[in-house]
């Protein structure tokens, strides 16, 4: 409980730091939304031209895109500082996290808030709501709860991948190029029904990089399309849980690698 209140203090400090630069905050949010609109326009054009992608029509594709974008927004709002991690290590800023009575990972995450995460969150939510009536979902309180948990789980899946790969920086100091590429792969392939990809790629995007668990599997469950999947229904339905499990494993890996921290010279 005490830890949670400290977390709140740190989080509000990061928000206040960011709001010191007001013009930047506003332009970040608008920029974030514009960036995501262009991404969605591509999906829209393809769907409008060919009617559907892998059997998914425009409302379903919009729903999938919205879910993934919201998950990404949650990931970005909570864990954006993973993209600063290499710098935090190289400059020795990490030293100060280690002499404070709080887990270093939490201090890293609350270091700064990337305001453009709200662009993703707003854009994603708007798309999900816009698609919710046209897409064939049987809405019930349970379905809404599942949707929310699934989007949080999706954020945790992305977080888990970034934390696991980032923990290698303790040894190699620089993994940002690798992680940026992985982030691009998530952003690109996560927006399409996983079933359109050939077998090996589909398998890789499920088990090697667990992109399908971010939005595609839970969206399939909500859209009653789980029958088309190449994995059992229970696994697809368990996506929110997969996010939590992967995340807790990632935190362990990170702690385990952190003993290799070398600090930096003065």
């Amino acid at each position: 409980m005490q830890k949670l209140s400290v977390l709140g203090t740190l989080a509000s400090a990061s928000i206040r730091s960011e709001l010191q630069y007001r013009a930047n905050a506003v332009s970040s949010i608008i920029g974030g939304i514009l960036f995501q609109i262009t991404g969605f326009v591509v999906v829209w054009i393809i769907a409008a031209r060919f009617g559907q992608i892998g059997g998914w029509g425009l409302p379903e594709l919009t729903f999938l895109y919205g879910m993934r974008l919201t998950s990404h927004g949650i990931f970005y709002a909570c864990f954006s500082q993973m993209f600063e991690f290499d710098r935090v290590l190289i400059t020795g800023e990490f030293d100060r996290y280690l002499v404070r009575p709080m887990p270093p990972l939490i201090q890293l995450f609350t270091r700064k808030l990337r305001i453009n995460a709200f662009g993703d969150l707003i854009g994603g939510t708007v798309l999900v709501i816009a698609a919710s009536t046209a897409a064939p979902v049987d809405w019930s309180p349970l379905a809404v709860t599942y949707l929310i948990l699934a989007m949080i789980g999706g954020g945790l899946v992305e977080g888990a991948v970034q934390i696991t790969l980032g923990s290698l920086s303790f040894r190699f100091l620089q993994t940002l190029p690798l992680r940026s590429t992985v982030n691009e792969v998530f952003n690109l392939y996560g927006n399409y029904p996983n079933t359109i990809f050939p077998g090996a790629l589909r398998w890789s995007l499920t088990f090697l990089l667990p992109i399908a668990f971010v939005a595609f599997f839970p969206a399939s469950v909500l859209l009653n399309r789980a029958g088309e999947l190449s994995v059992p229904l229970w696994l697809a339905a368990a996506s929110p849980l997969v996010g939590m499990v992967l995340f807790s494993i990632a935190v362990r890996v990170w702690k385990w690698q952190s003993v290799h921290y070398q600090s930096s010279g003065n």
């Binding site: 005490q2 209140s5 400290v6 203090t9 740190l10 400090a13 206040r16 730091s17 960011e18 010191q20 400059t91 020795g92 800023e93 030293d95 100060r96 280690l98 002499v99 404070r100 009575p101 709080m102 887990p103 003993v259 921290y261 070398q262 600090s263 010279g265 003065n266």
Partner: protein
């Protein structure tokens, strides 16, 4: 309070390849070399001591402090700080220690100083009363009030260092590690810093370990120094003993009355080691164990018309320079 037994820490570093395409070859050559930053360091520090931790650049000072504060895990050896192993009980240990690195700030760069202090009081679970009381006391000692509301990025180096010290002492840690606390500060700021360190030690009994390049810090603040070189302890003991061992001689500086002296000399007096003479001054190096200061002065005054006299202690700085150059401490 602090027990260190035979700690060592090595770093792995990619071997640099020189010559044509050196950078590219360094990248592909997976060969690495091992650098021993700390080879074998042991010492004990009691509660309430102020210890100066000295050595040349790269001697292993910062690496030691980082192992004591839980930042680095040693390659081998044992450390107990207030009974805890710093890197294993990291968060618990953090409650007992304050750390100030002179070259980087621990404060929130974009927020006013007062916000950083509030956040820290939360992190260390101070109640409002204790926070206000400690803040008032620190303000009293460090004069924080004029810049409490300014964002840390706008503070001068001296103000920032005062802020960092306040942040480190806010929760009254038992131990304070100061890594180069006076680096880059002007004379006034240095003096303020030293007063603060002295006061904290005397009033709160805080154990302080101080690394510095400024030997005036050491002479002013510490009775004991630990001197390391190439990752090993060369000397551990009182400042006076190091000076005595290494530089047992004193100097008598004499200012002569201009044109008032016939040619004379003091070379023949027993205990005089060396004399530098000019028409208006003498610098006489002597061994205080072989001739009493009073006798020497009497002899000088008998032979010269003297304007002024002064006994000069060997400066610690010279002692340290000689140790670093020769790489050993005389027994």
């Amino acid at each position: 309070m602090i027990e260190v037994n035979h700690i060592a820490r090595e770093f792995r570093r990619a071997k640099q390849v020189h010559g044509a395409f050196g950078g590219l070859r360094t990248f592909f050559a997976r060969e690495s070399e091992i650098v021993h930053a700390v080879e074998d360091v042991s010492f004990h520090i009691d509660a309430g001591e102020v210890v100066g931790y000295l050595g040349a650049n790269g001697a292993g000072k910062s690496t030691t402090i980082k192992m004591l504060s839980g930042i680095l895990v040693p390659t081998s050896g044992e450390v107990r700080v207030n009974g805890l192993i710093p890197w294993e009980n990291r968060e618990e240990n953090a409650l007992n220690i304050g750390v100030v690195f002179g070259q980087r700030t621990q404060l929130w760069w974009d927020l006013p100083l007062i916000d950083s202090l509030r956040i820290i009081s939360k992190l260390y679970q101070l109640d409002t009363d204790r926070f206000q009381r400690n803040l008032a006391r620190l303000d009293d000692m460090l004069g924080l009030a004029p810049f409490l509301d300014a964002p840390v990025r706008q503070l001068s180096l001296g103000q920032r260092m005062r802020g960092d010290l306040a942040a480190a002492m806010l929760y009254e840690p038992k131990i304070l590690y100061l890594d180069e606390p006076t680096i880059g500060l002007d004379v006034v700021a240095k003096e303020r810093m030293r007063n603060f360190i002295e006061q904290v030690n005397q009033e709160s009994g805080t154990t302080i370990m101080l690394t510095t390049h400024d030997l005036a810090d050491v002479e002013r603040l510490t009775k004991r120094i630990i001197f390391i070189d190439k990752g090993r302890v060369l000397f551990d003991g009182p400042v006076a003993e190091l000076k005595h061992r290494y530089s047992p001689f004193r100097e008598l500086h004499v200012t002569l009355v201009p044109n008032g002296n016939e040619a004379s000399s003091v070379d023949d007096i027993a205990g005089v080691i060396h004399v530098e003479a000019t028409p208006t001054s003498l610098v006489i190096r002597f061994d205080p164990e072989r001739i009493a200061v009073a006798d020497l002065i009497a002899a000088v005054v008998a032979r010269y018309a003297v304007n002024d006299l002064a006994i000069v202690e060997p400066a610690l700085e010279n002692v340290v320079r000689e140790i670093v150059q020769s790489g050993e401490v005389r027994a």
